[in-house]
């Protein structure tokens, strides 16, 4: 249990620093940045205290916000992703989620991909809607969401593959 907590704390810190110092400055094709920090939300244990989970996600987003001077957009997006996670889990894993038997190391790749894509799209949509903050520019929002999501999904899948122990 202790091991689990320290592991997640370490992941929290590393993801915030990685996001702030490297990933925010990639600017692929001028504006495309991956937001890898949602990996913390995606891989948080399934059996959890939802109160704590929501609060931690909020804190994670807020730290990213402080580093990127973006007000509260990442906090709101991370919070929304964390709040909708049970629904996404149910949608992508079905029965396995009902019986609380999911382990991220052992599930099949297709379901995992669906889960990550849905989570990323929701998160990015909130981020860019709040960042642009103007309904007139809906096309800009959708464009940014789509391209950044692709980048984020590729990066999250690669990270999961590299850091998973048995596969």
């Amino acid at each position: 249990m202790n091991n689990l907590i320290s592991g997640h704390t370490l992941r929290f810190v590393i993801l915030v620093l990685l996001q702030a110092l490297i990933l925010n400055h990639i600017n692929f094709l001028g504006y495309i940045n991956p937001y890898l920090y949602i990996l913390f939300i995606a891989l948080y244990p399934i059996k959890n205290n939802r109160f704590l989970f929501l609060f931690l996600s909020f804190l994670l987003g807020l730290f990213v916000d402080i580093f990127s001077d973006s007000g509260g957009i990442h906090a709101a997006a991370a919070l929304t992703a964390a709040y909708t996670r049970p629904i996404i889990l149910k949608f992508s894993f079905g029965a396995a989620y009902e019986h609380q038997t999911i382990r991220f190391n052992t599930i099949e790749f297709g379901a995992l991909l669906v889960y990550l894509i849905t989570l990323t799209l929701i998160h990015h949509l909130v981020v860019f809607s709040l960042e642009v903050f103007n309904i007139k520019n809906i096309l800009l929002i959708l464009k940014k969401t789509l391209f950044s999501s692709i980048f984020t999904i590729i990066l999250t899948v690669l990270t999961i593959i590299i850091f998973s122990r048995k596969r």
Partner: protein, 276 residues
């Protein structure tokens, strides 16, 4: 009463979600209004310190290009000194010389330790703060053009609202005439900004130089901004909207100068006599 408590307990996660969401929305809305992001900004001890130490390493990687830019600027200043009075007209307007403004403007060199240009509201971080007597609403320029206006300050750091920020409005004019308008950004390309509210009567042509107007008490008059790439009349057909290609490459900025206008308080008091 019992029912209210039961309701609260049943929906506690939803209520927590709403609470935290409204907090973050308040922060977001604050960040979208000018000069209001009091709580969440990177000019604090933690993030400023981390950015400062990583910048100490990463600044080595573009020493070469930055040296070239600074050398170009030195070259221009040298030309100004040695050709002094003879070519006054052509050069002095393009390149600013702090001595020609008396003591009205004080320049402070600073380093950009966090650059940003891909969001719609870009904010930069500088390594000078209150300790170096930097305050809100000071102008920031690069060796080639303008950068933005100081927003928040802490002891050692300060944030800059870049011209690549949809909230930023800077007074600018055509170099040859005195027709002025406000410089804004539409959030699309980091290489072009838009100049609005230039009256229809102004003689605009492609390739004209745009400079600061000196009307806002933040920037001195005549700092180069960019050149006109194209222009069109707005819907009411009274004003031009001009696309301006910036002189400085906003994606590669290291050395900047912060400008303090010593006469600013006096000017503002004269213009707004109500707030006494």
């Amino acid at each position: 009463m019992q029912q209210i408590i039961n309701f609260l307990i049943r929906n506690k996660t939803f209520l927590l979600y709403i609470l935290l969401l409204s907090i973050s929305l308040v922060f977001t809305i604050q960040s979208h209004s000018y000069h209001k992001s009091r709580f969440i900004n990177s000019a604090n001890f933690l993030s400023g310190g981390i950015y400062n130490s990583t910048n100490n390493i990463s600044e080595y990687f573009n020493l070469k290009t930055q040296n070239t830019i600074l050398q170009e600027e030195n070259n221009n200043l040298r030309m100004l000194i040695h050709n002094g009075e003879k070519q006054n007209d052509s050069i002095q307007i393009t390149y600013i010389d702090s001595t020609s403004f008396g003591i009205a403007y004080k320049f402070t060199p600073a380093l950009v330790i966090k650059n940003s240009y891909s969001a719609t509201d870009n904010i930069l971080l500088l390594n000078k703060g209150e300790r170096d007597s930097i305050k809100e609403d000071f102008g920031v320029i690069t060796p080639k053009g303008i950068l933005g206006i100081i927003d928040q300050t802490s002891k050692k750091f300060s944030t800059v609202i870049s011209i690549l920020n949809t909230n930023s409005r800077i007074s600018a004019k055509l170099k040859h005439t005195n027709h002025f308008g406000s410089l804004i950004w539409n959030g699309k390309s980091p290489y072009t900004v838009q100049l609005k509210e230039i009256p229809k009567i102004a003689p605009v042509t492609q390739g004209d130089t745009i400079t600061t107007s000196g009307l806002s008490a933040i920037f001195p008059k005549g700092i180069p901004i960019g050149t006109v790439t194209d222009f069109s009349l707005d819907n009411a057909e009274n004003y031009y909207t001009i696309n301006v290609k910036l002189f400085n490459d906003m994606t590669n900025i290291e050395h900047v100068y912060i400008i303090e206008n010593k006469d600013k308080n006096e000017i503002n008091n004269l213009l707004n006599p109500t707030d006494e």
